[in-house]
């Protein structure tokens, strides 16, 4: 874990350069102090053997370590070494369990009685519901109405694990609204409830703590790639919504200036923003956002000139968010991370390509990273690692529907699925 390594210069005191902080209602401040204290003691200092228990549970319950797989047909297609980090093989089907299990366990160590969480695609909600069931904690999940409708399998899974799923009707019914509602619940019940934030966003210490729980991804890649290829990769590619798999993948490589880091965002249908309508047809915050405060942190945002937060868009519910983690914003500003984006269509092609060529059905989130690989492989060097952050079972309905609308080169004939 990165926590055993020397702390980076840029993440002291809850800020990353100009980003981060704690912009929350006063009622929540004591809870953030309590969490910061617990994070330092249990996560950073392994008090009461917290980290030992976490690692053991991630191994036995979570299925870690996940493989770093050489993708033979992609390697052939692009004429270079392509490795896939298989986070889709973590229990629950995505990297989200790394963080959810860590936080639910921490809440238990803190003596909290109840877990709440927001979810976009449902992967974080599912992971939290699983972790809560595993550790015997009551759990409520807030999910935007639009996302409830487009991610039904995950809604069922959360319910199977005993979590209550509360659909949020406000706004466009996606992740942003779900976070607002979860914050309101937390402000009401803060004394006994822990809010499991699902990405490297929100007030300090969440961005740092979530990154630490997720940094197992990059730590494993670092070890595995040296074992398999005998050296560090030339580039590492991960998709970025809020940025938890991105930071988890990149953190171990930040000091290695010879490794290029690419954060691939959802370009949606266009990178243009219609400010008058308050809608961004993309979720490419790192590429097109401006600095501001949302959900407890100073970071890059999709916002109007007046400061109203835009509705974002992506074919992938998990990337559909107008903000991004403050540490990623900082790493982009300092030039360490290169922001990139691909549109909905490239992501759908990435989905079909990996499914056909490698027998792996990736999440639509991860498909953005694969879309970028197809478009820019020539710039990525001889040895490339792509993080497959999750599996795509949850996205099948969306993919069928969206594929039918388009003439996609990589797609199979959709008609064969009819009847």
């Amino acid at each position: 874990m990165s926590t055993e390594r020397e702390r980076d210069d840029h993440d002291s005191g809850g800020t990353f350069g100009d980003y981060g902080g704690q912009y929350v209602p006063e009622a929540l401040m004591p809870a953030l102090q309590e969490l910061e204290d617990a994070y330092e003691r249990y996560v950073l200092e392994n008090e009461d053997g917290f980290m030992d228990e976490f690692r053991e549970r991630m191994h036995d319950f979570g299925g870690r370590p996940t493989p770093l797989q050489r993708a033979d047909r992609l390697s052939e297609r692009y004429d270079r070494e392509i490795y896939l980090k298989r986070e889709d093989l973590v229990h629950g089907g995505a990297h989200k369990l790394n963080n959810a299990l860590g936080q639910v366990l921490l809440a238990k160590y803190m003596g909290k009685e109840r877990i709440i969480a927001e979810t976009g695609a449902g992967q974080h909600g599912t992971a939290t519901a699983m972790a809560a069931a595993h550790l015997d904690m009551p759990c409520e999940i807030y999910m935007g109405r639009t996302d409830v409708n487009r991610q039904r399998p995950n809604v069922y899974r959360m319910r199977m694990n005993g979590a209550e799923v509360n659909p949020v009707e406000a706004g466009s019914g996606t992740l942003k609204e779900a976070i607002n509602e979860t914050m309101r619940d937390w402000a009401t019940t803060v004394e006994r409830t822990h809010y499991v934030i699902g990405s490297v966003v929100g007030p300090h210490p969440f961005p740092q703590m979530v990154r630490d729980f997720q940094s197992v991804i990059g730590d494993e890649i670092r070890e595995q790639v040296q074992e398999k290829a005998g050296r560090l990769p030339d580039s590492v590619v991960a998709c970025a919504g809020g940025g938890s798999n991105t930071m988890g993948t990149f953190h171990a490589f930040v000091p290695d200036s010879e490794v290029d880091l690419y954060a691939v965002e959802a370009g949606g249908s266009s990178l243009e923003i219609d400010e008058a309508s308050g809608v961004a047809p993309n979720s490419a915050t790192l590429s097109t956002g401006t600095d501001g405060v949302l959900h407890g942190a100073m970071t890059k945002l999709l916002q109007s000139g007046d400061g109203q937060i835009m509705e974002s868009h992506s074919v992938s519910a998990g990337l559909d968010y107008a903000g991004v983690g403050p540490e990623l914003s900082h790493l982009v500003d300092t030039g360490r991370v290169t922001p990139a984006s691909v549109d909905d269509e490239d992501a759908l092609n990435g989905f079909h390509r990996l499914s056909r060529l490698e027998g792996i059905i990736p999440a639509l989130e991860s498909s953005h990273a694969l879309g970028y690989l197809e478009k820019r492989y020539e710039d990525l060097g001889e040895l490339v690692v792509v993080n497959v952050s999750g599996r795509g079972d949850k996205d099948l309905e969306t993919v069928l529907e969206e594929t039918e609308k388009r003439d996609l080169a990589a797609a199979p004939e959709v008609e064969v699925f009819d009847g």
């Binding site: 401040m29 607002n180 007046d306 400061g307 937060i309």
Partner: protein, 284 residues
């Protein structure tokens, strides 16, 4: 800061101390339209408000309950902008000093670069007396407080039921205008009764000689009476007034009801201070 004397540096503190027990009212600017807001604010002023908070709508109001969240959505749909908001304030002439209540991002984004100063300068120019920011805890408030100090505006801090010990001490030493005492955990919204957390909070604050006003859940004269009786210097009412705007058939009907409700709330506050036979607030 208060020094216990009869002269006040702060218009906000003076408004509370001189009109004790004070009525502080809130509505969202641009709810229905900015033109209607002007009439509503004037009605609240006539009804005996001693301070009036005007909400500048932000799209992600995480500290608000459903009533004010809906008002904010109506205001945004009606096209309310910070520019329009300040023009409204330029036009208003009220007895009661006006405060703006908004979220930190709105303050940061006013002007060409993210910076709090252009907003504070414009607020001072428009004649606002203070600023309340529900998502800005004392720890992050230095830049805004410095700007407010430079322009003679109060930056009002919220004291939550969870604010205790050293944090309470630290915040109380920085209070300007008044301490906004949050009556209960959670979000804004009218409630049927006064929370016991209110009594606990007021007891915790009793040793501090700063005006204390209680909000979050206050909706009727009897609440106001109970809160003042428990030691508050003022009561803050928002959602109950926003409900009137939302449910009235015409803006004129809302104007009449807002004025009457403010009067009833002020009477309630006076009852709580033992001024049962207090004269009606003066008619304009």
């Amino acid at each position: 800061m208060t020094d216990g004397s009869e002269s006040y540096d702060s218009d906000v503190e003076a408004a509370i101390r001189e009109n004790h027990p004070a009525l502080i009212t809130y509505i969202t600017a641009g709810d229905r339209s900015l033109e209607d807001t002007k009439a509503y604010v004037e009605a609240l002023d006539r009804g005996g408000s001693d301070l009036i908070e005007l909400g500048l709508p932000f799209s992600e109001p995480i500290a608000e309950g459903p009533t004010i969240q809906a008002a904010i959505n109506r205001a945004l749909e009606a096209g309310t902008t910070p520019q329009g908001f300040f023009e409204l304030v330029d036009d208003l002439e009220t007895e009661a000093p006006l405060l703006v209540m908004t979220y930190y991002n709105m303050i940061l984004q006013y002007g060409s670069e993210p910076d709090v100063r252009p907003f504070v300068e414009r607020a001072a120019e428009a004649g606002l007396a203070g600023i309340i920011v529900p998502d800005l805890p004392a720890e992050e408030a230095d830049p805004l407080r410095r700007a407010c100090d430079d322009h003679g505006l109060d930056l009002v801090f919220i004291i939550a039921p969870t604010t205790e010990g050293e944090r309470l001490e630290a915040i109380m030493s920085q209070v300007s205008g008044f301490a906004y005492v949050q009556a209960r955990l959670g979000t804004t919204g009218a409630r049927a009764n006064v929370s016991t957390a209110t009594h606990d909070s007021l007891a915790r604050l009793s040793e501090y000689d700063v005006p204390k006003a209680v909000g979050f859940g206050v909706s009727e004269g009897d609440h106001a009476a109970e809160i003042v009786e428990a030691g508050a210097d003022g009561v803050i009412v928002g959602s109950a007034l926003v409900d009137i705007i939302a449910s009235s058939e015409t803006p004129d009907a809302a104007v009449d009801e807002l004025e009457a409700t403010a009067r009833e709330l002020k009477r309630g506050a006076r009852r709580g201070a033992g001024e049962e036979d207090a004269p009606e607030p003066e008619q304009p």
